[in-house]
Amino acid sequence: MNCELAHERIVMAAYGELPDDAAHELERHVASCPACHTEREQVRALKLLADAYPMEEPTANLMARSRLRLEDALDALPPKTWLERFAQRLGNNFATLQAAPAAACLLLLMGAGAGALGGYHVAQSRAAQDGALAQALRTPVPPQDNPAEGVANISSIIRQPNSEQVEVRYNRLVPAELKGSLDDPDIRQLLMLASGNTTSDNVHVRSVELLADECAAGHGCNGEGMRDVLMFVLRYDRDSGVRLKALQGLERYVAEDVRVRDAVLEALLNDNDPHIRTAAINMLGPVDADTTVRQVLHTVAHSDRNPQIRLVSRQVLSRVPEFQ
């Protein structure tokens, strides 16, 4: 064991994080190395010193004040609608059924149906506010060639007494479209919604591409929203091509936004696609002043399983003066 490694292990041992066999090896080294023995004493002294700034229990006043303020804030929040609770529960159930494809498919179909119903209810409440819904219900629906086309659900069936006459009320899906510039906030909002669309790969991929291109060009990607969407896609999307696109869209913001930087570091450490990891390494070069970035690059350069990743990390590190 060399002294550099021993110094790291001394800190881990001081905090109870060293496995027994490594601790035994360290003990043998320290017994024969005065410098490391001194190092260990200094680490122990640091621990004692740090305890001179003790953790204090919050006062009863602070607790009471904080709790009261939280209660007021929670009381002021509007209650969740049944749709929001249902969607949340659906999401939770879907996650637990990931290992059961058949059941997951069934749940997906149920979710799609519930989503359509939910979409109708949202549209209905908006129309009611404008008064348009009341007018639409009084207006007879023109006969369709295929009345079942575009039907979301049947809301009621009423048969006239002693008659063959039946009144069926149904709700229809209303397709809509919006045309506009990529700078239009409404277009951007729809694109961000589309990035979470799991029913159509084409829509999902296209939306991420457009958002990433806009961010890469620096077009209004400064507030929350588009950057958060791209970071989410980079972290969780299953398609490596889409993740790479999201990463490219975020490149411009690595230096100024620590959240973006952290997302890129996570991609470097956790992504299973070497192209993405290589791209992440090359993006981190300009922010080598960040000690976390340097440390991650250092770790990857020395211990990553992929030799190409190790090589690229070393190349970036070689451009950082302190590591030469």
Binding site: V43, A52, P58, L62, H298
Partner: protein, 204 residues
């Protein structure tokens, strides 16, 4: 057998919290309030020690539990609720530390809600404190120096050191809370201790 019984007991001890979480997810405010009561002291303690300000600690407490309330439906029991709530709190504390770094604030003392200084060591019991006033002053000066040295760490280094040294968490847990690896947390701790030793060299 002791092993399985201990596992069973641990499971039973956790069940009430699991039930509380499910009830809170279903919309029960009482269940959420019970969860808050279980974790509020730890949250405040961490925020207060990190920020040195009662006002900032209150803000972090408020934001953390409001976020928890808003997103509790997304909690999928993939980690413990403790880790989940701490993840929210540590991210808020990190944001606060980063804002301070940007504004170059130097919070060397703890402030109460009206902005007056709190004597950190005044509430320390007699068993711990020295009866000698001169030594008491030394301890206060020392505490201030420690705070200053901690303030010179990067936000991440400060957070890892806080969670490891003062909260006693495992590095693996710290990695989960900060959404990074155990190895990264380990390296960050090592860097933090090196910097602190350099800052505090000469103190006895």
């Amino acid at each position: 057998m002791d092993g399985p019984n201990r596992g069973q007991k641990r499971l039973e001890a956790r069940r009430p919290e699991t039930e509380l979480i499910r009830e809170a997810q279903a919309g029960s405010r009482a269940a959420f309030d019970a969860l808050v009561k279980q974790y509020e002291a730890q949250v405040l303690r961490l925020a207060l020690h990190l920020t040195g300000s009662e006002h900032d600690a209150e803000d972090i407490y408020q934001e953390a539990f409001l976020k928890a309330y808003r997103y509790i439906g997304n909690f999928r029991f993939e980690c413990s609720f403790y880790t989940w709530i701490y993840r929210i709190v540590t991210n808020l504390c990190l944001d606060q530390l980063r804002r301070r770094k940007t504004r170059r604030e130097d919070q060397a003392v703890i402030l109460d809600h009206s902005g007056d200084e709190i004597d950190v060591l005044a509430s320390v019991s007699d068993e711990r404190s020295f009866s000698n006033p001169a030594k008491e002053l030394d301890r206060k000066v020392l505490a201030t120096r420690i705070q200053e040295a901690l303030g010179k760490l990067t936000p991440r280094e400060r957070m890892v050191f806080e969670l490891k040294h003062y909260q006693g968490l495992r590095l693996r847990t710290i990695g989960e809370m900060l959404n990074t690896t155990e190895e990264t947390a380990k390296n960050t701790l090592f860097r933090a201790t090196k910097k602190l030793r350099a800052q505090l060299a000469g103190l006895r």
